[in-house]
C-alpha cells in the first residue's frame, strides 16, 4: 500500500503519455498512474490543463475520502470523484482567470513606492489614473518603518528595480537614494516651478507639500507655551512622548540635531531624555494619540498628525519645534524617478502631476494641511496653512544633511545591535 501511495505521489508530477486515448471510467480507475481526462477525452502531457485536472482529481479524491488506505474500496462510485473534480476544475479555472487578471494589471501599471500616508496619497494617485488612463500600483511602507523601509528596499533592489516612481514623505532618504545612484534625472515643468531649496539641481528629485515638526500639547494637562515646554523638558519628561528616531520624520529631526549639536551633544540629549522616562513609541500618530487621550501631556509630532487630533475636537494645541539655532524644521514630500524604469514617459507624467499647483493646493486643503512649497494662489489657502507657511519660511535647509542622516542611522543601529 505504501508503495502504491508513493507511486501516486510521484505520478502526480510525471508527464502523461502523449495523446493517450482512454475511456472515462478506465481513466478514473487508473488514478494511481496519474491518468487524467482532457476536455475531449484526450490526454495532453505536461499541459497546464492536465495539471489543473490532475490537481482537481487529487483534491476531489481527497475531499471524497477515497484513496486512503483505511477505506474499503468502492468501485461502484468511480464516476463521482470525477464529477466533483469537474466542479473543482471550474473553481480552478476561476482562480486561474483571477491570477491572469491580476498579473496583467500589475505588468501594465506604473509601480509607485509610496511612503506618504495612504489616507491622502491614494486619493491623489487614483485621480491621476482617472485623468491620464495610466494605472498605478501603490506599494506602501510597513507600519513600523515609515519611509525608511522603502528607501532600504530601493537600495536592495538597485540592480533589479521593481519600482518606477518613489513618492517619499520626507526628503533625506531620497537624497540618500540620489547619492547611491538609484534615481534618474528629470527636469520637467514641475521641477522648474520649485524654489532651489526644494529641488535637486540636476532633477534627481523634487520636493513638494511640506510638514512641520511641532510640539503637540494637551491643553487640559498643561498650557501650550514655549516656557512651559522648556520647564517640563528641564524637570519632568515622564509624560512626554516621541516617535522612534530610526524612522520617518523623527530621523530627519535627529539628523538636524546631529548637525547642530554634534554627535556627542545629540547622544547625551537622547540618553538624558530616555533615562528620565520619556516614552518612545512607534510613530508620530501614536504620539498624537497618547497626547490626545491625556496619557501623555506633550510630545513631538508632525503637523498632519496634529490636525487629525484637532479636527476631532480634542483639547490639543501645537507650537513649532525649534532647533538649537532657533529654526523650524519643514520636511517636504519628495518624488523621484527610479533608474532603470521601463515606463519612463508614464513616470514623467506622474512626477509632473504631483508637482503641479493643483496637487499642492489639494494637499494643502486636505486634513493634513500640507504646506505648498512652490508659488500658489495664497487666497486659496486656509488660515491654518498660511500660518504654517510663515513658520516653514524659517526652516533649516535639509538638503546638505544626508551624511548626518547616515551617521545617525549608524549610531542608532549600533545602539540596538544584535
Amino acid at each position: 500500500m505504501a508503495a502504491n501511495n508513493s507511486r501516486s505521489l510521484v505520478a502526480a508530477f510525471v508527464p502523461l503519455p502523449l495523446r493517450e486515448r482512454n475511456s472515462f471510467e478506465t481513466l478514473a480507475s487508473k488514478q494511481g498512474e496519474g491518468a487524467v481526462r482532457g476536455g475531449t477525452g484526450e490526454l495532453v502531457a505536461g499541459s497546464p490543463l492536465t495539471l489543473i485536472l490532475r490537481f482537481a482529481q487529487n483534491l476531489s479524491l481527497s475531499l471524497k475520502g477515497r484513496g486512503g488506505n483505511d477505506a474499503p474500496p468502492d468501485h461502484s462510485a468511480t464516476r463521482r470523484p470525477t464529477a466533483l473534480g469537474a466542479v473543482i476544475v471550474a473553481i480552478g479555472l476561476m482562480v486561474a482567470a483571477g491570477w491572469y487578471q491580476v498579473s496583467t494589471a500589475t505588468r501594465e501599471a506604473l509601480v509607485v513606492y509610496c511612503a506618504h500616508d495612504l489616507l491622502y496619497a491614494e486619493e491623489v494617485l487614483r485621480e491621476f489614473e482617472q485623468q491620464t488612463g495610466i494605472s498605478v500600483v501603490i506599494v506602501p511602507d510597513t507600519e513600523a518603518t515609515k519611509s525608511l523601509g522603502l528607501v532600504q528596499r530601493l537600495i536592495r533592489e538597485k540592480d533589479h528595480p521593481a519600482c518606477d516612481v518613489f513618492w517619499n514623505n520626507q526628503l533625506l532618504g531620497t537624497v540618500e537614494l540620489a547619492e547611491q545612484g538609484v534615481l534618474e534625472s528629470y527636469e520637467g515643468p514641475g521641477w522648474q516651478r520649485l524654489p532651489e531649496q526644494f529641488r535637486e539641481p540636476t532633477g534627481l528629485w523634487s520636493g513638494f507639500g511640506g510638514r512641520l515638526r511641532v510640539w503637540i500639547v494637551n491643553t487640559e494637562k498643561m498650557p501650550a507655551t514655549e516656557e512651559m515646554i522648556n520647564e517640563r523638558l528641564a524637570n519632568d519628561v515622564s509624560r512626554m512622548a516621541m516617535a522612534k528616531p530610526m524612522f520617518g520624520t523623527t530621523l530627519s529631526h535627529y539628523s538636524v540635531l546631529w548637525d547642530q549639536l554634534g554627535a556627542q551633544g545629540l547622544q547625551e540629549w537622547d540618553r538624558d531624555l530616555r533615562d528620565r522616562g520619556m516614552s518612545v513609541v512607534p510613530g508620530n500618530a501614536t504620539v498624537k494619540d497618547l497626547v490626545a487621550a491625556g496619557v501623555c501631556d506633550f510630545g513631538m509630532t508632525d503637523t498632519d498628525d496634529f490636525f487629525l487630533a484637532k479636527d476631532d475636537s480634542v483639547p490639543v494645541e501645537m507650537l513649532p519645534l525649534r532647533t538649537p539655532s532657533g529654526q523650524t524644521i519643514c520636511i517636504p514630500n519628495s518624488v523621484a524617478i527610479i533608474r532603470g524604469t521601463q515606463k519612463r514617459k508614464q513616470a514623467e507624467q506622474l512626477v509632473d502631476y504631483l508637482l503641479s499647483e493643483a496637487v499642492e493646493l489639494r494637499l494643502a486643503a486636505s486634513k493634513a494641511r500640507q504646506i505648498p512649497l512652490a508659488p500658489v494662489d495664497e487666497f486659496l489657502l486656509s488660515e491654518d496653512v498660511r500660518q504654517l507657511k510663515t513658520w516653514a519660511a524659517e526652516s533649516v535647509d535639509l538638503t546638505p544633511l544626508a551624511s548626518a542622516r547616515r551617521e545617525v542611522l549608524e549610531w542608532l543601529s549600533q545602539e540596538h545591535a544584535p
Partner: protein, 472 residues
C-alpha cells in the same frame, strides 16, 4: 533593546505561556474527551474559537488600550501574555487529544505507588511518573511554546518587545539579508533543539505504547469549571472585546467603504492567495499522510520542519533566495509567497489530516457506502447524509480552514508579496498606525467578514454537491 535581550524575553514569556497553557489544556482536553456526537462538536467548536480569530483583529482591538498602558509596560506585557496564552491553549488541547498513549499507564502507576510504599522505591515512582507525564504532555507543551515564541502580529500592534518584532522591524529598516539570516540562527536553533528533544522523548521505541490514545479519564468538577472558565475568557477577551471595537467602528464608518473601492481588489488578491495556497497545501498534506511507516514519518517530518520554524524565518529565508540571480526573476511573481505559505501551513494541514484520521470511523463509513447501493431512494439520501457527516465534512472543513489561515496570514505577504499583489490584511496592517478609527474598523470588518461568508457558502456548496453525488 538588543536582539539577545529581545530573544531572552521571548523565551521566558513563551516558557510561561506554554506552562500555564498546559495547565489549562489538560483539564480542557479531559472535559472534552467524554462528550460525543453533536455535544462534542459544539464544545470543541467553542474551545477552538481562538484558532479562527485573526491576530490582526486581536491586535487592533487592544491597540489603544495597550497604548494607554505606555507608563505601565509590565501590565501591557501581562495582558499580551494572557492573550497569547488563550490563543495557543486550543492547539495544545488538540495535540493532547491526538497524542499517543503514554508508555506507563495510570493503572501501572497506581500499582507502582502501592508497591513503592512497601519497598521504599520512591525514586522509581518519581521516574515512572515523570516518564508518564513527559510523554503525554511534552508534544502539547512544545507546540504551545513554538506558537508563543513565533507570535508577532499581536506583539507588533500592542507594542510588546520580542525577537520577531525586533527582527522584522530591523530587516524592513535596512538590515542586510545576510545579517538578518545570521541573527536568525539563534532562534531557529533554539526551536530545533526544543523539537528534537520532544521527538526524542516521544519516539523512544522502548517507551512507546501500542494504543493510539491516552487512557480514558473522567473530568472532575474542577476540570469542567476550568474548561468553562477558559471558554468564557476566550469569548470575552479574544472575541468580545475586538469584536465590539470593530463593530462599533464599522457602524460609524461604513461610508468609508464606498470611498475605498480598492479594498475590493485587495480582498480579491488575498482570496486568490488563500485558495491557491490552501488548495496546494491540502493536496500535499494528503499525499504525505498517505505514506505509512518510517519513510512516511521521515517525509512528514522533513516537510513540516520549515513551517514549524515560523513565518518570519521562512519568509526571510525565501526572501534571501529571490533577491539575487538566478532566482531574482521570481521576486516580482506570486510564486515565492505561494511556496512560503504552503510550507508554513503544511504542519497545520498535516495535524488536521491526522485528527480527521483519528476521528474517522472507517467501518461506519463503509456501512454508509453499502447503504448507498440500496435501491430505495430514501436509503440513498440517508446514506449521503451519513457519508457527509462521517467522512466528507471533516475534509471539506479542513480544506476551508487551511484556506482561511492562508487568507489571514500577515508576516509572509509583508515580506514576499510582489508589487500590486498586496493582500488586504497587509494593507490594513499598514494603516493601523492611525489607531482605532471608524473607517479602518469598517475596512477590517469587510475584509474579515468576506472570507467567513465565503467559507460558509463553500461549506454549504460542498455539502450540497457531495450529498447530491452520493444520492443518485
Amino acid at each position: 533593546m538588543t536582539f539577545s535581550e529581545a530573544c531572552t524575553l521571548s523565551v521566558l514569556r513563551s516558557l510561561a505561556i506554554a506552562l500555564t497553557g498546559l495547565c489549562i489544556a489538560i483539564p480542557l482536553t479531559t472535559s472534552l474527551r467524554v462528550h460525543t456526537g453533536r455535544q462534542a462538536m459544539w464544545r470543541w467548536g467553542l474551545a477552538l474559537l481562538p484558532v479562527f480569530v485573526p491576530g490582526l483583529l486581536i491586535g487592533y482591538g487592544y491597540r489603544n488600550f495597550a497604548l494607554s498602558l505606555v507608563h505601565h509596560p509590565v501590565w501591557n506585557e501581562v495582558l499580551y501574555t494572557v492573550l497569547v496564552m488563550l490563543q495557543v491553549v486550543p492547539v495544545g488541547a488538540l495535540v493532547l487529544f491526538c497524542s499517543p498513549a503514554p508508555p506507563v499507564r495510570a493503572a501501572a502507576l497506581h500499582v507502582q505507588r502501592l508497591v513503592s510504599r512497601s519497598n521504599n522505591g520512591r525514586g522509581r515512582l518519581v521516574g515512572a511518573w515523570l516518564r508518564h507525564h513527559l510523554f503525554a504532555w511534552l508534544p502539547a507543551w512544545v507546540v504551545m511554546f513554538l506558537l508563543a515564541f513565533q507570535e508577532s502580529e499581536v506583539a507588533t500592534l500592542m507594542q510588546v518587545d520580542g525577537w520577531t518584532e525586533w527582527l522584522f522591524t530591523r530587516y524592513a529598516a535596512g538590515l542586510t539579508i545576510a545579517t538578518a539570516l545570521r541573527v536568525l540562527v539563534a532562534p531557529v536553533l533554539l526551536q530545533l533543539a526544543v523539537l528534537i528533544a520532544a521527538l526524542w522523548v516521544v519516539t523512544d521505541d522502548g517507551a512507546r505504547g501500542n494504543a493510539t490514545s491516552g487512557p480514558p479519564s473522567f473530568p472532575s468538577n474542577g476540570h469542567s469549571w476550568l474548561a468553562t472558565g477558559y471558554v468564557g475568557l476566550v469569548l470575552l477577551l479574544l472575541v468580545g472585546v475586538p469584536g465590539a471595537v470593530v463593530l462599533r467602528g464599522t457602524w460609524e464608518g461604513f461610508s468609508v467603504l464606498r470611498a475605498h473601492r480598492t479594498l475590493l481588489g485587495e480582498v480579491g488578491i488575498a482570496l486568490l492567495f488563500a485558495v491557491t495556497a490552501g488548495g496546494l497545501t491540502w493536496i500535499v498534506s494528503g499525499q504525505l499522510t498517505r505514506i505509512r511507516g518510517r519513510p512516511g514519518s521521515l517525509l512528514i517530518g522533513c516537510s513540516v520542519l520549515p513551517g514549524l520554524m515560523g513565518a518570519l524565518a521562512l519568509g526571510l529565508g525565501l526572501a534571501s533566495l529571490v533577491q539575487k540571480p538566478p532566482l531574482v526573476s521570481l521576486r516580482d511573481s506570486p510564486l515565492p509567497l505561494l511556496i512560503a505559505e504552503v510550507c508554513f501551513l503544511l504542519p497545520r494541514a498535516v495535524l488536521i489530516r491526522l485528527l480527521i484520521g483519528r476521528w474517522r470511523e472507517s467501518s461506519a463509513v463503509h456501512t454508509a457506502r453499502l447503504l448507498a447501493v440500496a435501491e430505495d431512494r430514501r436509503r440513498q439520501r440517508e446514506s449521503a447524509e451519513l457519508l457527509w457527516r462521517l467522512d466528507a465534512a471533516g475534509r471539506c472543513g479542513g480544506l476551508l480552514l487551511v484556506c482561511f489561515w492562508a487568507y489571514i496570514e500577515l508576516t509572509l505577504p509583508s515580506l514576499l508579496a510582489p508589487p500590486g499583489m498586496t493582500p488586504a490584511p497587509v494593507v490594513l496592517y499598514n494603516l493601523m498606525h492611525y489607531g482605532q478609527i471608524s473607517g479602518l474598523s469598517a475596512m477590517l470588518f469587510a475584509s474579515m467578514a468576506t472570507p467567513v461568508v465565503l467559507v460558509g457558502i463553500a461549506w454549504w456548496g460542498f455539502r450540497l454537491i457531495i450529498r447530491h453525488l452520493h444520492s443518485f
